[in-house]
Symmetry: C2
Subunit: 446 residues, 2 copies
């Protein structure tokens, strides 16, 4: 599956059939497309923008390879002159976007593409593919972080993520949204994300006895010893660790943590904590994993379970309670005139838009206005120019910088929208000029 | 994100930390791991095995690149001799598996790896990552096919799939499970899957009027004209198509279909069908898309909506009502002795297992037995040898062949398990010898 992600053919066929029709008619004026979410899922009070970096990479590298051009020439759908033109196609346009880690709400564009029609159209599929997924994961991870501000949080989800890229981008995006690290080695290598992980149940089972497995592992990793204690009997394993820890400490090896991966995590953690404390091991941390999400983590912490860290996997990496967003990438202006789709239940706001955000006296987000780009509206404009002439206008923030930004942004979400319970929708006003433009566009196309 | 999918580091850190501990102790006897699903999701009466081809590709190509070895040497977690050993690591083991397109049930292994411990352990993460996702999508797609045996079914889900690989593998797997094609161009090029797709709403909006857009498109694609008619007013667009079709037919262009993508699809389809029929266009097909899944398709067909084909996207490509499986890849035997995990709620059956399937007089699946490999049990054994010595034992079936096999298999699922409603679980017996082995293993490790 190599190079799948770099291909200009990672797109829907209709992008190419439309492009040929545009080519035949010579249609290639400036188009403005915007990516937005039509409505927030019921179980989300905000969304956290993510994926911009991968979109910019994709746009900077966009081109058809020789193999792809050869295939297009011979697939029986496209004519020679059109394929010749595709050979020269690069993305030469402009991108405006909210920085990764910015909270946003229904109908607010987080990305605007301004480019010749064919370029702006072709890139629709992959832009949605990148922005939707990372926004889903960033949002899910941010919810876990908000309910567990002081816990160690680690992404464990590669195995049940939907393919390789989903696993990689989950590691990146959950880190951006406030996680402390990941188990995903390639993500660690690629983005310098701290790595976590020690042993699986199979490690214990491959040994004749559990204690021998613990000892072997500790000798191989004297500086990073976390022991998985639930393969057979969790509390029995915890009791066995007390004398082992004493023995190992004479060799200069310190057990850092134990991990519990099954059963009632809160109950086990309390009993294990008591055993470790009585055994003189108050500094050995308890790490829990297994079917966790923001709801489970919140419940464990509310019940004062003595758990220091959580491995969050499947449910975050698939965003299981909300595996997709009602998102769209829509044409809002073509050749200087505003456009809007009016399909039932799918009407959108026309024109080049900007989102203005207001803050209260404590610096918390108090309301947004969805307006036209040039509108004079109170508040901070959220969409910034990220690309011009097909190249980034500024160096991208590092992942660590984006993470700092996201943390600061999340701190500014006011209480009703920070929690997991459904809140009254965050206030998003529509500016008068935008309403007027929508009416004007409708009159024109009637 | 290139080469992400080919990397040996697309794994969890703990695989590598365990490997170093095994290396230090010289543990590398033959290990047997099996991949299975602990229990079927509530809303699935069967699962359809998929992903084996990608697993075999991965195993045949497994190695650490120079860059990866360099990174491992310098990440501060591993010692030199261990990384040197990784440089030589290849997969040299054996794989037994159910062919792609085989229905299966809870606790039945669909893949067994028999290899030196370190090899068999390292590959866990990516094997789960590949098998779980494709099985999810194959199952979802098969459910759509079973409720719509005669409809044209097309995968439209790339944009909201979780990343590039999810989009590609969804196209492949839905085709394997009985879909007719995909909109995903790269999947079409890669696997020769029929491609479908014509225009988006933006195409209509980029034109001054809808009829002009229809005409332009038809001229550019005279042999593949499907018109999207719901951008403004669905029935008005259908009425406009009647004279347009007459005009185009004089130029030798035939409109093949119209697509409806919003509103009450059944209602619109009925009205549009009447307009087209009255207009002398009974051969123009109606294609529907927008928020479809097996439930919506079943409801539309039950209501006799005159829809000839369906574009199924997001809900299939995210398997939205079941975005993950309770699956596992577990050590079942090491150095010749059976193993089993006993963690609460996660106990598994030990040993090298085989699934035997029985059929009734009409050739329909009537029950399975989960047994040990050598057991003498009535029925057809489902796990076949796919790889020996790290190489495929036979050439893989083509995707078309796998699709034929899946179709024949799905035809053999008996009525209670074919439907969408939750049925009584399909009967899976546990053989006496397997039960005895489990008891024996438990006694030994007590």
């Amino acid at each position: 599956m190599n190079n799948a992600t770099e291909s200009a053919l990672l797109t829907d066929l209709y992008q190419l059939t439309m492009l040929q029709a545009y080519f035949d008619k010579g249609l290639d004026d400036t188009a403005v497309f915007e990516f937005f979410v039509r409505k927030l899922p019921e179980n989300r009070n905000f969304l956290l923008a993510a994926g911009l970096e991968q979109v910019l990479d994709y746009l900077e590298n966009l081109h058809f390879s020789a193999d792809e051009l050869h295939w297009l020439r011979n697939c029986g759908r496209f004519h020679e002159r059109f394929v010749d033109a595709l050979a020269d196609l690069r993305f030469t346009g402009e991108v405006w976007a909210m920085p990764e880690g910015t909270p946003f709400y229904a109908n607010e564009p987080i990305l605007r593409v301004v480019a010749p029609l064919r370029e702006a159209q072709l890139v629709e599929t992959r832009i949605i593919n990148l922005l939707q997924f990372q926004t889903l994961i960033a949002t899910k991870a941010a919810r876990v972080r908000l309910v567990a501000p002081d816990s160690l949080l680690v992404d464990f989800g590669l195995r049940r993520a939907h393919g390789a890229e989903a696993g990689l981008l989950s590691a990146r995006t959950s880190f951006l949204a406030g996680f402390d690290g990941t188990s995903n080695v390639q993500a660690g290598m690629r983005w310098n994300i701290p790595l976590f992980g020690t042993m699986a149940h199979s490690f214990i089972q491959a040994h004749e006895d559990e204690l021998g497995a613990f000892e072997d592992f500790s000798h191989s990793h004297p500086k990073a010893t976390t022991l998985l204690i639930d393969t057979y009997d969790t509390e029995a394993a915890a009791r066995a660790i007390v004398p082992l820890a004493r023995k190992l400490s004479h060799e200069g090896i310190e057990i850092q943590a134990v991990r519990i991966d099954s059963g009632d995590l809160g109950c086990h953690a309390s009993r294990v904590r008591a055993i470790l404390d009585e055994g003189g091991l108050p500094n050995v941390h308890i790490f829990a994993s297994g079917n966790l999400d923001e709801y489970a983590v919140q419940a464990l912490l509310a019940a004062k379970a003595p758990i220091d860290g959580f491995g969050v996997g499947t449910r975050m990496n698939t965003s299981d309670d909300c595996p997709y967003l009602e998102c769209a990438y829509k044409l809002q202006e073509y050749a200087g005139s505003a456009r809007r789709k009016r399909s039932e239940g799918k009407a959108s706001w026309p024109g080049r838009k900007q989102v203005f955000r207001r803050f209260d006296a404590e610096g918390r987000m108090s309301g947004d206005t969805l307006a036209l780009e040039g509108d004079e509206v109170t508040g901070t404009p959220l969409l910034e120019c990220a690309m011009r002439g097909g190249k980034r206008t500024v160096a991208s923030p590092t992942l660590a910088q984006a993470r700092d930004y996201a943390r600061a942004q999340l701190a500014r979400i006011a209480p009703p929208w920070r929690g997991l319970e459904a809140a009254v929708p965050y206030p998003v006003e529509i500016s008068t000029t935008l309403r007027e433009l929508a009416q004007q566009v409708d009159r024109k196309s009637m």
